[in-house]
Symmetry: C2
Subunit: 461 residues, 2 copies
């Protein structure tokens, strides 16, 4: 657990007044260049200070030879040096009262032997200098709320997201980041924990738990020696915010566990899974499931229970959805008799079988009628959540606006499964998601999103 | 089984010299309008004949009052009339020697009772008139090779695909079609079997099996009473072409089975699964898996065995891949000592652990070095297939061209997992896939694609 001062220093690392890049360089294929470019492209508005012994200027920024030459405070140092120079840099950071440092280099504990000893020295130096150390062997961190991209992935940032992310692997962080971007799920903060020499999962979880702009926390974990601290903390956090977790290393887990010493959570993937669930974390099996669940939790209100209704213009997709929902703990119950009467009134001349899932057939392609059907189904007291299925068709209108209104009017979540190619989806998705309706392109993602809401609602009730 | 004449007539329905649309209309939200629009937009080069008792012209096409008024042959009739008029239309088709008809209307067997009787009359009329009947209650069919879109989904067609599709549900057909489009998997032929009043799964499978332009066949099935005929035929077909199958209705299957009478394959989802596998079909669990597997089979050469190597710039994604591959019957074996020596030569100054999966770390972002590593790994006699993982980065080059050459040089499939948002993927995907390298955006899809090649290779060997 971080104490108050440590939390404050970590918060300054996420929201720095100025950022120094140790090892900034002019060579575009080097990390020290990409990181500087990331900070500049991300839209960071504080001071940016490249550090290099010989260059005068890189990417239009004035370069300082040493951290010591910089006038004024530096809150965050991004250390893009080799594994030995990175250790020495901790003292330099300490002398300048740098609050946090990101150590990008590999060559530490993951190499065993000498590397492990070097990592111990790095951690000791960071602690001695009161530097909140992220990594080593990390891609860095992002705080989109502050326009800060302190990673070596130059990408644009978007503000206003409520989804924050802790990953052990930079690459998996990228997997999640790109998928979130494709899904219109805006990332608020992201940190790659790397080798966790000083700061571990529980420290970052503690930080995000008290971050007022973070509403949903997601974690990708390969393994940790502080699993007990992590799950105990998470068990408290989930009372206020959902924590979604993906665990890697199923196939080789037994071997990996043999290499650890705590015993507290060593065991099969099933043990991990069960312990996580017992403490109220939402366990997912893939990056796509993580993003789908997180998006639903970020956008939609929670349902009162697990009773799902499906409205669709075609039976086949709903059959696949029912298979998935069934396996995820959601149920489809028959409509109330009053609902059936109202539906019969609408379907007088159309040959359809009235049931849940409601296959509206051709009627389901008319935007107006579709919205009327959604209204009737959402009014059913036995329905906690509506999955609205539609198929993109150039001659038909999708009633985004009405669905947003209906979700609010009935106080129930609506989740959209829109069958389409990626190209034709943007306009509808943006409209729906801005109005609190998570919007998906596959049956699996739709079911994961709906079930994610149901799972967290059950925990909170 | 279709006899020679039936096969010829069905082939003319897929490759008609002229197409009539019964029930063509000027109202854009009606099926009879969308179908005509589909035929015109699809680029069909034969004669298009809208049939309507009163209109003179629709969408620039001259309208005929009755099929009988049309001078010259009509090979395919698309019947967009109501469920009763559709039955009468079969006689009209027979009088004009129409080879095949698509009956779009619902209101038949799926409604029970009267609908079931009406469907029997429809089937009887079709058989009596020697009309090869698709449907009823179907979205239609597509033959992109002939520029024929005979469905009510107006969409553009692309030629040159080798992937053909049989689906029981139009909506699931759309799911697969849109996903295939997003993945750059070009559809050759697609037919929605609908209620299968006359033609069933096995008939269309027989047709596609002898279609020289179809290399991979995929099937979405909810249920059929002719399951035995289907699997026995499929067992023969898979000796020449892979058949990928997705079965819907897991959750409610027991109820569905109770409604059927054959007993031949009534039983749990596991029974279906096991029987399909026993006959050599490739069983998949989702639309995404179907498209991933089919794409690999459409593009890549078959591997000699199930030994997979992974080359990656980041360990995390490979951990998720290993978990998936392990569950799908692929194995990762250590590299040969000669391979290790060659890798050591390349990695002299870089701190990486040499193993399979090979995490090339920062080296993995250099296109030239990445290609050298791929060459070394593919040369290993213990490697049957390479999964090349990369992460999109604006300052780095992805060596598509080299990977295509290396796959050919070593005679082994290469599958790419490219971690990226959708926006930045098109150029690389197009290049790779044109060169026989299936290209994926998620770990699951990559593993499904690779495992699909391994599964079919095992069957063929």
């Amino acid at each position: 657990m971080l104490d108050k001062e440590q939390l404050e220093r970590l918060d300054l690392a996420f929201n720095p007044r100025s950022v120094a890049i140790l090892g900034a360089t002019k060579e575009p294929d080097r990390v020290g260049y990409s990181i500087l470019e990331s900070v500049l492209r991300g839209g960071y508005e504080g001071r940016v200070v490249p550090i290099h012994p010989r260059h005068q200027e890189i990417l239009g920024q004035k370069v300082f030879a040493r951290l010591d030459d910089v006038d004024g405070p530096v809150d965050l140092a991004i250390v893009a040096l080799n594994e030995r120079a990175s250790v020495e840099a901790m003292d330099e950071c300490g002398q300048h009262d740098v609050k946090g440092a990101i150590c990008v280099a590999g060559g530490y504990k993951e190499m065993g032997g000498e590397g492990e000893a070097l990592q111990a020295r790095l951690a000791e130096a960071a602690v001695r200098n009161r530097v909140m150390l992220v990594g080593p062997n990390t891609l860095g961190l992002i705080n989109a709320q502050a326009g800060l991209n302190a990673s070596f992935w130059p990408t644009e940032l978007h503000r206003g997201g409520v989804f924050s992310l802790i990953t052990q692997s930079g690459g998996v962080g990228q997997m999640i980041g790109f998928k979130a971007q494709d899904e219109g799920l805006v990332i608020n903060k992201w940190v790659g924990v790397g080798n966790r020499a000083a700061l571990d999962f529980d420290d970052f979880l503690q930080y995000l738990a008290q971050d007022p702009t973070t509403k949903v926390i997601a974690v990708f974990m390969e393994g940790t020696e502080s699993a007990r601290r992590f799950v105990q903390l998470a068990g408290e956090v989930v009372k206020r915010k959902p924590v979604v977790i993906l665990k890697g290393g199923k196939a080789e887990l037994s071997q990996l566990c043999a290499q650890t010493h705590t015993g507290s959570m060593a065991g099969s993937p099933k043990v991990y899974h069960d312990v996580f669930e017992q403490f109220g974390l939402i366990v997912v099996d893939s990056v796509d499931e993580m993003v789908s669940v997180s998006k639903a939790l970020a956008l939609a209100p929670l349902p009162r229970g697990n009773r799902v209704a499906i409205l669709t213009p075609s039976a086949g997709p709903s059959i696949l959805l029912v298979d998935l929902l069934d396996s995820l703990g959601c149920v489809l119950v028959p409509f109330a008799s009053e609902t059936m009467e109202r539906l019969e009134g609408l379907f007088r001349d159309v040959p359809v079988v009235l049931k849940n899932p409601l296959d509206a057939a051709a009627v389901g392609y008319s935007g107006d009628l579709y919205a009327q059907l959604a209204d009737i189904v959402l009014a059913d007291v036995g329905v906690d959540l509506l999955i609205a299925v539609s198929i993109d068709h150039k001659n038909r209108r999708f009633p985004s606006g009405e669905l947003i209104e209906l979700s609010r009017k009935h106080g129930k979540p609506v989740v959209v499964y829109y069958i389409s190619d990626v190209e034709h989806v943007h306009k509808h998705r943006e409209a729906c998601q801005a109005g609190g309706i998570p919007f998906y392109l596959s049956a699996e993602e739709t079911a994961w999103g709906a079930a994610g809401l149901v799972r967290y609602a059950r925990l909170r009730s």
